[in-house]
Symmetry: C2
């Protein structure tokens, strides 16, 4: 049987999960694929902390560059995170012609173009299934099963931390700050939590999904991103009474050649599958012109779910190496065009939920009408207005006149006319 | 750019869909993958009917063997269906070392072992994503993204016709026979409808999923299959009142090395995602030991959704051919062991819904107790009993004494102790 020697950079939660997963199921994987995965070296500055995993003497070393340069090692798994030394190590591995497996969405969103091009120049690949949707094989579905489709839209619940917080706020009726603090204590949210709760992590993943769907590097600046920070329990209760739940939703949509990229807390109908995506689960809805609506659901983070995705990539990189594939589709797909055309933030059409701080609904109606925003329904007791579809720029102008009011997007997942 | 020449056998609904899909998105696919797909020949006995698709003069011919033997053709797409001439053609193509793409679940379930072995002997592959779940990339997820996982269970809604009928019975409150007749008129059900509504088609797909999950050919006889024929609207209404919907559910589950394979109409909780899978949609829930719960959803049939899966396979087979992969993982995974151990039908544990024809609930309770079946709840007005978990053999024995009664499985998707 062929053997593939793996070098892992970063022996934290996910690194230890990958080693545990391969110890547990390595023989099963070898039987299925005909290739035996062997963890040859692990690099981490901390070589002493007990990760609950036993590795043979000499496997865990502090020097990442030594692992990359070790000629016996076939592929490199980057699980350090961040965009500084991770970038240096990934570039070095690629320049040595070694395939890289990574779960690092920030790195791909910030430096993807550079990395994909270096991979291509060196006839090797980057494999990054674990960067989006944790254990869900969503990128693989996009670049293989759905390869024949023009992608019409992608909707995603992509951040487990935000979804966990929203689910608990809804179930327990407690305020955002309290749930966030508890989530940090339990390890479901990081300190500081900004990347997650301000929507940046979701925007990183949106960039990766959109790049693959439309074949060109997408800059972070193309995404209009808002997070869930400070969301009030009142919104969750009002949404519930109106038949909606609130999710941090990524929206990727092509209309007449222009691509909309949004991340924002959004009201979704309770009878739509998004509303059943709870706790730290993720889900991605992909609509293709041939296949129609599809959906992929699973754990968006966590030690073993992420390890599952990393191991899938390791075995694909291993097979590609054995067969001399060179640069895989996951790289060539990202580099088809130099740039894309985006829908300006102000031009994005949406429905909205607006809650007035002061309850003068008549005055509010007049302001909305002035800005060409139709009303779909009005709740007098809660001072909530659900609008018709209108442009973001109209909402921004109306909100400036409405005074203290809260606005959230509504997504009904209906065909647009 | 590399070119791959495709020979299609069968120019029916799906065949025409594949040609349409490639005409529409062929350039897009070529840009993404670096391989240009070219439909070189199509074989169909009927060369005159208008399929709404224009193909160049000389492409459509009546002789399938001529297409298979054409040396310029790289791969064969079998879309004839059935298990007789389709088998002959697939075997012939494989013996000539040509990869075969097929959507034919009956062929795989009945003759899979033979075909996989012939593919392996000839160092080529069969690609069959479209055989299960229509456009959903479920098999690809299983054999790539989830390759590192031991599969604990798979639950599937796998037959679009049954799901369409059940959804309409529920929405319209009309009887089974009436909806079936209408579904046949609308082309959602075939005439005769037996393969679909008696659960055979779902069992075929169950065999393919289980073979891949557990690495050995699974005989059809290992599946306990019941369909939805004659299901009464009363059951749907009663289930609704109790918080359930009825779905034709395939269940694949490993317990202590023994595999359960069931297909039966099953009550699923309304707040579980299965309950939101409506119309002709399919969904597959896969639980892996690393990844945990995952779910895949999309159109389980239809011209373009199936074409989407076939085109995905064409491009994978093309890449494998270009890179000289030989026998792909989709074949080696099916041939790891010679046989598996199955849970006997009578030993399968489940909860049930029982509706008595005569309303003597006390006598019924005594019978159930005698057979060791606990009751979870009793609905006096409808004479419905929901039971605790018990063995199928106990239910069979109790039913023999209960007289005229209806029994359906309940699946709560909870962890079993």
């Amino acid at each position: 049987m062929k053997e593939i020697k793996i070098g892992i950079l970063g022996f934290g939660t996910v690194g230890a999960g990958v080693v545990e997963g391969l110890q547990k199921n390595g023989a099963l994987v070898a039987g299925r694929t005909g290739i035996k995965p062997v963890v040859a070296k692990i690099a981490d500055l901390d070589t002493t902390t007990d990760r609950g995993i036993v590795v043979p003497e000499g496997v865990l070393i502090p020097d990442a560059m030594a692992v990359i340069s070790d000629e016996s090692i076939d592929l490199i798994v980057e699980l350090i995170g961040g965009t500084t030394i991770a970038r240096t190590f990934v570039l070095e591995a690629l320049k040595q012609g070694k395939p890289v497996i990574t779960a690092n969405k920030a790195l791909l969103a910030e430096h993807g173009v550079e990395l994909y091009k270096v991979a291509q120049e060196n006839r090797t690949g980057i494999y990054y299934e674990a960067a989006v949707g944790g254990g869900i094989p969503i990128l693989r579905s996009q670049r293989a099963g759905l390869i024949g489709n023009r992608i019409e839209s992608i909707y995603g619940i992509l951040n487990g931390t935000c979804n966990y917080i929203l689910t608990r706020m809804e179930r327990e009726g407690l305020p955002f700050d309290e749930i966030l603090a508890d989530a940090q204590k339990l390890g479901y949210a990081e300190t500081p939590p900004d990347l997650d709760i301000d929507g940046i992590d979701t925007a990183h993943k949106t960039v990766v999904l959109a790049s693959m769907a439309y074949g060109a590097p997408v800059p972070m600046s193309a995404v209009s991103a808002k997070g869930i920070r400070g969301l009030s329990g009142e919104e969750i209760a009002n949404a519930d009474a109106l038949g909606y739940r609130i999710k941090l939703l990524a929206i990727i949509e092509e209309n007449e050649g222009k691509i909309e990229l949004s991340v924002e807390p959004t009201l979704v109908p309770k009878n739509h599958m998004t509303a059943l995506v709870n706790d730290s689960f993720n889900a991605v809805f992909v609509k293709g012109d041939l296949v129609g609506d599809t959906m992929y659901y699973g754990r968006g983070a966590g030690r073993l779910p992420t390890a599952s995705a990393v191991i899938g990539d390791i075995m694909e990189a291993a097979a590609d190496k054995v067969h001399g594939v060179g640069t895989p589709v996951g790289i060539t797909m990202m580099l088809q065009k130099d740039e894309l055309e985006y829908c300006a933030a102000g031009d994005i059409e949406k429905r909205c939920y607006i809650r007035l701080a002061q309850g003068d609904l008549e005055a509010a109606a007049a302001i909305l009408e002035k800005h060409g925003i139709g009303m779909a329904s009005v709740e007098e007791t809660t001072s909530v207005i659900l609008t018709q579809r209108a442009k973001e720029s109209s909402f921004v102008a109306a909100m400036a006149e409405l005074g203290d009011a809260v606005r959230l997007r509504i997504e009904d997942f209906e065909e647009k006319g």
